[in-house]
Amino acid sequence: MLLELVDVRVHYGKVEALKGVSVSVGDGEIVTLIGANGAGKSTTLKTISGVRPVTSGSITFDGEDITGKAPHRLVEMGLCQAPEGRGIFPGMSVRENLDMGAYARRNKDTASDLERVFELFPRLLERAGQPGGTLSGGEQQMLAIGRALMARPKVLLLDEPSMGLAPKLVAQIFAIITEINAQGTTILLVEQNATQALQRAHRAYVLEVGRVVKTADASALLDDDAVRAAYLGGGSKPAPAQTPEEPT
């Protein structure tokens, strides 16, 4: 396994947010975490990327124990997150934002990476000189993903990439996620839009109140009655859903 969490517990103050979560992601996979607001999906991602301290349990990446490592070290190792809420630098231009993505890299030859990002997101090329803060929500999401790709990550952590996006854009973003994966990047995806996520992912974990309650192939979960009822909505029409999870 490329990335493996074993019995990870995380506390906010006295409150246990993750109650022993075990998740593994194999090389080349798209794995998705689904669940209700507050289930611990975003917390799991933040814990992997080192933003939240672990109380107990271990995280290994590429055969190395990364529990407790600082986030910037993890980026150097090839673990990169496009944060929920995008977290782009509003005063920097699109181009500068992308350059920041390559900040931790030793090899500073970024021309080919820029080309790749602009190929995936032609819209960003049009806006290259514009301050990040003036982009629309969808463009900011593209920028956040593009910036993460600039680090040439082995694993890309995506937190609610479809949040606040129009239906048409949601479809586009998911298509691009599939494309990025096809180009060789492993992806761990947190989504409120469970239908889309399960259609794109290989495997999935269902989280409830800080615990993994179910794990299976994504296609199996799509047909799982309990999962359908809880997260996919009753009807056959998928909600072009979106958005954030916990208050920050």
């Binding site: 906010y12 246990e16 611990g40 048409k168 469970a194 029409k237 909600a239 979106q242 958005t243």
Partner: protein, 666 residues
């Protein structure tokens, strides 16, 4: 990583604070009386030298600290030149009594306060539009200007200063003139001033005014949009802080009888600020403790003569050649400050809210969990980590008097005509016209960046449209300030929830009800009956609104600790609290799963049944199509369609621009 580092906390004070909060009211009153008796009795037992220290620096620092705390701690504005108001009060006293004025000391106490207050308004008026660092620099400049003017103005005595300022005439128990050098009466004078300041500031803090200060500190823009006249409230904060400084200046001048520019050095501003931060921003008890520490410790170190060993050690460490340990007192004091701030950054006796804000700022804050674990009054409940517990709303209806009942009609409530908004060369809205009818739910959809939120921002006065008209019931809203527009009857929620995160649910809503109340700062200080009525009424309404949106059990919880869904509900309740004619909801279903969305649909319907007109921005087509009576579609700032939900769903242009060709296919 600093944020991962869990520093040990000095926690001598917290258990005491907890104990205090757990006491019944009568016990608190009794203890307060005992404490008062002690502070009256104790100074009389001290040597005159220590009585002097108790007057200055300790007493004066406490008074100044209380004033500065209003500005920095309660309203969140960093003021680095606070000593200016102390100086203004002192010079006003000197000028009014000594030459020209000829008033007695007692006659000019009120004048000194008013003049300092006027100086506060003069400084605040042009500068309070600035925030953060910029405001700090402006105030820093002001502090220096006052001192330099005094230094150079002939009538203020230049560097010589002004001498022979009269003592206050004797009061029955306080003989200010009996023994010329006896500091004790002045200790009681400053004590009296401190008690008055605590009383008045306490009343303000617990009023509509204090709530608006807290709201401004937490999120100034959201406060303005909830109807808080932010500029006026900040000006009041500045003026009240300045008046306390002016009172301090009067006391100092009449006791010492002599002032010159050196009495008001810049570092006095910093010392008082250090006292406030050290003690605990926003906490009265904390400010007193902090001012005591800052005033007393250097004086104590002056007396701490027995430390030859320490002196030699310090000389060796610093390479200095001091003969007396007092030469190191500010050095030691500085180190003590640094250590304090590392181990207890929230201050000696922190206020609950400010401690929570600090925890958030340092990354120790939590989402849906108890914040600032060692803070004084621990948030009791709210322990589950934001689990999704969205019940379908209770069937509590809004009372009849709350909003005008109406059913869907064709009567126009909100009308936009040719609305255009340009940012530089970018056209965010281009000639948008629409009209919203009373009692309907009107949807606005469109791609990201189409201008939907910009439209809300124009209606609520955040942006002033480049051209076009916005009318609410026939009255133009263009060019009015956001809080005026809220008063006129427009309320909104925000795409990325903007509650006042460290205020309780009920206080959040009361900021909304406050928009309709009129208690002013002087009214709150005087405790006018009207104010008490408004406060009770607001609280009762807030409780009803919490029931209405289905979260009555959250009343006392801090907004930040609520589960995500409840935060959305609270934001809606806060908006309704302003008694709007029209409610603007910006992506309320964002981040909801299907069950939560269904509950939201019910809530929106219920709001509509209660007679409110709703305008809804939403990406979730199921919600939009289910709940909206009519829908307008924006694309690239232009309205490309308007009509009934079924018309919109089949409109070719809408499918092209927004829905996508196969958005409906699973």
């Amino acid at each position: 990583m600093i944020r991962n580092l869990h520093l040990p906390r000095l926690s001598i004070v917290d258990p005491v604070a907890r104990l205090w909060l757990g006491l019944p009211r009568w016990a608190k009153v009794l203890l307060q009386l005992a404490l008062l008796a002690f502070v009256i009795w104790y100074p009389s037992t001290l040597e005159p030298k220590w009585q002097s220290v108790l007057f200055f620096p300790v007493g004066v620092y406490i008074l100044l600290g209380l004033g500065l705390n209003v500005v920095v701690g309660l309203s969140g504005m960093l003021d680095l030149g606070y000593v200016a108001f102390f100086a203004v009060g002192a010079y006003a006293t000197a000028k009014l009594t000594v030459d020209g004025g000829g008033l007695t000391a007692w006659e000019c106490v009120v004048l000194a306060i008013i003049i300092a207050m006027a100086a506060g308004v003069m400084l605040g008026g042009p500068t309070l539009r600035l925030r953060g660092d910029y405001l700090a620099i402006v105030t820093l400049g002001f502090g220096e200007i006052v001192r330099i003017v005094a230094q150079n103005s002939e009538s203020l005595g230049q560097a010589r200063g002004i001498i022979n300022i009269p003592h206050p005439s004797d009061l029955p128990l306080l003989k200010f003139n009996e023994r010329p050098l006896d500091p004790l009466p002045y200790v009681y004078l400053v004590l009296g001033a401190i008690l008055v300041a605590i009383f008045m500031i306490g009343r303000l803090q617990r009023s509509r005014v204090g709530r608006s200060w807290a709201a401004i500190r937490e999120d100034e823009d959201a406060a303005e949009l909830m109807g808080v006249p932010t500029f006026n409230m900040k000006l009041w904060s500045f003026a009240i802080g300045a008046s306390t400084g002016g009172l301090g200046g009067w006391i100092y001048a009449t006791k010492v009888q002599f002032i010159n520019p050196d009495t008001f050095p810049l570092n006095l501003s910093f010392l008082v600020l250090a006292a406030v931060v050290l003690g605990g921003l926003g906490s009265t008890a904390g400010v007193i403790a902090g001012a005591f520490a800052v005033g007393f410790i250097p004086e104590y170190l002056r007396e701490f003569a027995g430390g030859d060993e320490v002196l030699r050690f310090l000389n060796r460490v610093t390479g200095g050649e001091a003969n007396n340990i007092t030469e190191y007192r500010f050095f030691l004091f500085g180190i003590a400050l640094i250590i304090m701030m590392i181990f207890r950054p929230q201050g000696l006796i922190p206020s609950r809210q400010r401690a929570a804000e600090l925890a958030e700022a340092t990354g120790e804050g939590s989402m849906g969990a108890v914040a600032g674990v060692d803070e004084a009054d621990v948030v009791a409940t709210a322990t589950e980590v934001g689990t999704a517990t969205l019940e379908v709303p209770t069937d509590v209806e809004l009372p009849d008097d709350f909003i005008t009942r109406a059913t869907e009609t064709s009567e126009e409530v909100l009308r936009l005509d040719g609305l255009t908004m340009q940012f530089g060369g970018v056209v965010a809205l281009n000639d948008v016209s629409m009209s919203v009818h009373r009692g309907e739910i009107f949807g606005i959809i469109g791609p990201n960046g189409a201008g939907k939120t910009t439209l809300f921002n124009c209606i609520t006065g955040v942006f002033r449209p480049t051209s076009g008209a916005i009318e609410l019931e026939g009255r133009s809203l263009v060019g009015r300030k956001p809080h005026k527009i809220t008063e006129a009857g427009v309320a909104r929620t925000f795409q990325n929830i903007r509650l006042f995160p460290n205020m309780t649910a009920i206080d959040n809503i009361m900021v909304g009800t406050d928009a309709r109340h009129t208690t002013s700062a002087p009214g709150a200080v005087m405790g006018l009956p009207k104010h008490g009525r408004e406060e009770r009424l607001g609280r009762a309404e807030a409780v009803r609104l919490l029931e209405f949106v289905g979260i009555p059990h959250r009343a006392g919880e801090v907004a930040r600790n609520l589960p995500y869904g409840d935060q959305r509900r609270l934001e809606i309740a806060r908006a309704i609290a302003t008694q709007p004619k029209i409610l603007l909801l910006d992506e309320p279903a964002a981040g909801f799963n299907p069950a939560e969305k269904q509950a939201l649909v019910e809530l929106i319907r219920q709001i509509c049944r209660a007679g409110l007109t709703v305008v809804l921005i939403e990406h979730d087509m199921e919600v939009v199509m289910e709940v909206c009576h009519r829908i307008a579609v924006l694309d690239f700032g232009e309205k490309i369609a308007e009509g009934l939900p079924e018309e919109i769903q089949t409109d070719e242009r809408v499918i092209q621009a927004y829905l996508g060709v196969d958005a409906d296919a699973p």
